[in-house]
């Protein structure tokens, strides 16, 4: 793989831009391609088969652009689709948001004999048990509490902030059990959630460490590229790229650019529209390779 290829970041919609934001801070000079599957969002209440189907089509679309690394910047897609998709594309470098979040949660849990780690996420991410497995693999003596919080994404996309009373009330309901069980760490297991981090911190109190899966994911990507000698930023000694950013969405580019600027204060050019029908006319995926 050429170190000059772009990093491709994919998400069901807007949330993955929090990962792009974090990536641009740690990897100056890298080119980034973003794919937001806005025609099919949200992924969080859909089945593994359907979400894997969506991700499969997006990867087929991205491959001809020769990305040196693909980031699945969506917790649901990571939980439901990453294992199958990496098997289908054994030569592609690919990573998600769950392993880095789990690693950071375990690191933050401290020296307690049995720390209590909470995870809030979409319904599909919770159902997949991916976070529990990733945490317990690293630290078998831990208590993991999972809670689906399906209203948070639509609240954030509606433009509600940490100061909105509906956000506050919903968070108090969702987090009550975790507060009673005295969690030590809370993983924000959806790339949207950092946008209401202040409200979450207020509700759980100052003793609980919050793990931002977007930030952890970006640092993980930097580590992977560094290890493989694929960095192109100043630190690598390679000629720096332009740090170009381009994006694709499956629905409503203007709305996407508007939401990106409103919620993330990212000014981006309107993305290129890839209609769902076009996505499905991409060549069929490679046959599944037998696992070793």
């Amino acid at each position: 793989m050429m170190p000059t290829g772009p990093i491709a970041v994919l998400d069901s919609g807007l949330g993955g831009l929090t990962v792009v934001d974090a990536l641009r801070k740690v990897l100056v000079g890298e080119d980034i391609i973003y794919f937001g599957d806005t025609a099919h969002l949200p992924y969080g209440n859909k089945s593994a088969a359907t979400v894997t189907g969506f991700v499969r089509q997006i990867i087929q679309f991205l491959r001809p652009m020769h990305p040196k690394h693909i980031v699945i910047a969506c917790n649901t897609a990571t939980a439901l689709a990453l294992p199958a998709i990496s098997q289908e594309h054994p030569t592609l470098s690919m990573s998600g948001v769950i392993e880095p979040g789990a690693r950071a949660a375990v690191a933050a849990a401290g020296p307690k004999p049995i720390p209590v780690i909470g995870v809030i996420a979409t319904e599909a991410t919770v159902r997949s048990r991916a976070y529990g497995q990733a945490i317990l693999r690293r630290r078998s003596m831990a208590q993991v509490l999972l809670r689906a919080t399906p209203l948070l994404v639509p609240m954030i996309e509606e433009g509600r902030s940490s100061e909105d009373p509906v956000v506050e009330l919903a968070l108090r309901q969702y987090l009550q059990g975790m507060i009673q069980r005295k969690i030590d760490v809370l993983v924000l297991g959806c790339t949207h959630y950092p946008l209401i981090k202040r409200a979450i911190a207020r509700v759980v109190g100052p003793k609980v460490k919050l793990i931002d899966s977007a930030e952890q994911c970006a640092q993980d990507v930097a580590r992977r590229l560094r290890r493989k000698g694929l960095l192109r930023s100043a630190e690598s000694g390679m000629p720096g790229g332009g740090g170009r950013f381009s994006s694709f969405v499956t629905d409503d580019p203007a709305r996407f650019a508007m939401l990106a600027s409103r919620f993330l204060r990212l000014r981006i050019d309107p993305p290129v529209l890839v209609e769902p029908r076009e996505l499905y006319s991409a060549p069929p995926p490679l046959p599944l390779r037998a696992t070793a």
Copy 2:
């Protein structure tokens, strides 16, 4: 068209079942086919082009079953797609939920010189202005207030009821302006909303008449079929059908059946799964007929 064909009802997901429920009460003995596009839901925050694309594929899928009438049981799909789709299929009998809702709202508005009619709906339905146009065409002296209420569908699908404090608080925020402007009528412009009708009634108070677009739509379908001599129920003198019900979804049939029983107390057999890829491999739509 044969009076023995089924009535086809389509929706982005679950909400259209409120129309099925109403249809079965007014049209005993009719066969009903339901199509819930659960892989692509929600429609309410997507563009007209994308929603029209989804509906177009569903109609292509339903045509070979020779429905005698197609009901677009989703306000967003009616607002964004019905005009274009009926032009593409001039021989198909087709109706939506907005015209019946608007007609009922005007009828309920009473003798006031300038009644105030409120409509709550998805973001896309509000943006389309379809309700305003349908109401003002029937009664030009009326004030129409539209409000997008994007949290209500995810709240209802999460299982929250009229007694939930988050539902109550969100409704108070959404409806505050309408209450101050003293609306006479409030249209529930999304087929999910009747499920929290008690909370809506409590918030707007007893003087405001609520219009249930699902119920109005079912009565409208009965009127249309009666007018065309296509009724097959007892009242028509035709041999009664079995009142059979079958359904198709694009994602997770088991979850759909579970939600149908939980929210609508409808016990249905799990629907047949039609994968999105399968839907897109249906024959391409007929060419658009030039408008007269």
